[in-house]
Amino acid sequence: MARDNSIVVEKLVREFRKGPRAVDGIDLHVAPGEIYGFLGPNGAGKSTTVLMLTTLLPATTGSARVGGYDIRTEGPKVRSVIGAALQEAALDPLLTGRDHLKLQTMLQAVPKAERKPRQNELLDRVGLTEAADRKVRGYSGGMKRRLDLALALVHRPSILFLDEPTTGLDPQSRTALWEEVARLAREDNVTVFLTTQYLEEADVLADRVGIIDNGRIVAEGTPAALKAEIGRPSIHVTPVRDDDRSVITELLGRFGEPLGSERDLAVRLREGSGLVDVIRAMDADGVVVDDIELRAPTLDDVFLAKTGRTLEGAAAEKTVAPSVR
């Protein structure tokens, strides 16, 4: 019988004592072999959701089935079918990459005869064969993340949870990790639940995206469908002088609804308006600008449309807000 490697979540809630609802009644369905991107700013509830789905944190209310098993009552079975790389690569700096894999294969009860071949296979797969006998404290951030991924795969899980796997990585390491995650889903039919605060990551990697803010899912769908929902492109203008901002804002207002961008002046174009119309109006009014750009909708626009804030702005708010947990 084929394994059920779906994730089904219904009205899942996690409340912390004297704190807000970190996760506030979310519903999710992740299909087998799908890469689901869980996108949101810091503190939105992404990691708390992952901790509940991986059985490391009890849910306050609601239910979820991971791989067909109930996270509340079938914890050991859930853990047997999942692999997880949680936020921050949880590695022992004094052990080598090979030591980690040896320990993990033993704890995951991989049969003795299969342990070494499995260790070598995974080291090769994540490109760490040469560094296998070096202590982890000498690894780069990318190498640690790749080892973390290898450790999560030791027991051939059918569902993989990756909590912000590329945070802090350089673009090259990020791309390498994306390729490996995509390969796992496409070739091995592994279901991937990936949390991220990077729009590009969700856009490039995820089959479907759930956008979470303040513990609630505010939008869900394929990246293309979500962007299509927003529909119209936006125009972003960088003034030459700060004094010109009010004039430009007034001018742009004739062509669409203002966007709350922190970096530049922007409007979402109304139906029938285009870049040419805006440039003509600028010429006519004698407005000079440093830069003008037409942008297709992004997931950030989706986030902005659904929450009234940009992802970057939401993250900054969370950073400034005092912790209540």
Partner: protein, 259 residues
């Protein structure tokens, strides 16, 4: 013990030993500092042997028991710090995601501490022999001393694990080190209890279990086979081991709260 459980315990014990071996800054102090203190004390307090009723004419032989307990205290703090760091870095969560049982986690951790405790004991015994100490209980006494060192390591290892699991912070564990050392200093480490003239100090040394842990070792070195000292030492070590392992198991259950 079932085979998977043995494999888990073995893997975790091996990690514990490898970690210690790879950080000399943690491995060396439990060996060197107690011996340095022994040499300083046996030089400075040599005149104590002139007290009427002092049980030996070699203060070195008298004081050689102390490193065994000091070393165990060092190991306890190191082991607790390591476990607390695992909790802080998320390594503990990684272990929680494997089928590892709580009992295996604790047993693996403690086994690692026991191995190191025995290595320390062999080192202290060797230092004593090199410096001319003759063990009154003979080779069998030395063998028993190694068993006792293992038991003390279990007792103190359990305590270190309990503290780590409750506090979850390596800094807090290290902060407790001086407090734990107080128990050593208010014991019979430097003077036999019946020769302590200050009554309140004698009282504290008498109710302090560490005194009996030291006196058990001391009896094998300078007295021979002293049943009372052995029963009290092994008894207290066993009681501490049972209590600390029980507390650590409870704390582990709370810490590994999985569904």
């Amino acid at each position: 013990m079932s085979s998977p459980l043995l494999t888990q315990v073995g893997a975790l014990a091996q990690r514990s030993v490898v970690r210690t071996a790879r950080q000399p800054a943690s491995a060396i102090p439990p060996l060197v500092f107690p011996v340095l203190l022994l040499l300083v004390n046996s030089g400075g307090l040599k005149a104590s042997t002139l007290l009427p009723g002092f049980p030996t004419d070699s203060f070195l032989a008298f004081a050689l028991a102390v490193p065994f307990i000091q070393g165990a205290l060092f190991s306890m703090v190191n082991a607790g710090t390591d476990l607390a760091r695992d909790i802080q870095t998320g390594f503990f969560s990684r272990l929680s995601l494997t089928p590892v049982r709580g009992s295996a986690l604790l047993a693996g951790q403690i086994t690692g501490i026991v191995v190191l405790g025995i290595v320390q004991a062999v080192f202290y015994i060797s230092v004593g022999l090199v410096l001319g100490v003759r063990f009154a209980a003979g080779p069998a006494g030395i063998a028993l001393l190694l068993v006792y060192a293992a038991l003390v390591a279990i007792a103190f290892g359990g305590l270190g694990s309990f503290l780590a699991l409750r506090l979850g912070s390596s800094e807090s564990i290290q902060g407790l080190f001086p407090a734990l050392f107080v128990f050593l200093f208010i014991s019979s480490m430097n003077t036999p209890r019946d020769l302590i003239a200050v009554s309140w100090f004698r009282f504290l040394a008498t109710i302090n279990p560490v005194s009996y842990l030291i006196e058990c070792v001391r009896s094998l070195i300078i007295t021979g086979w002293d049943t009372r000292a052995l029963v009290l030492g092994f008894g207290f070590a066993t009681l501490i081991a049972i209590a600390s392992l029980g507390a650590a198991s409870w704390a582990l259950g709370r810490r590994m709260e999985r569904t």
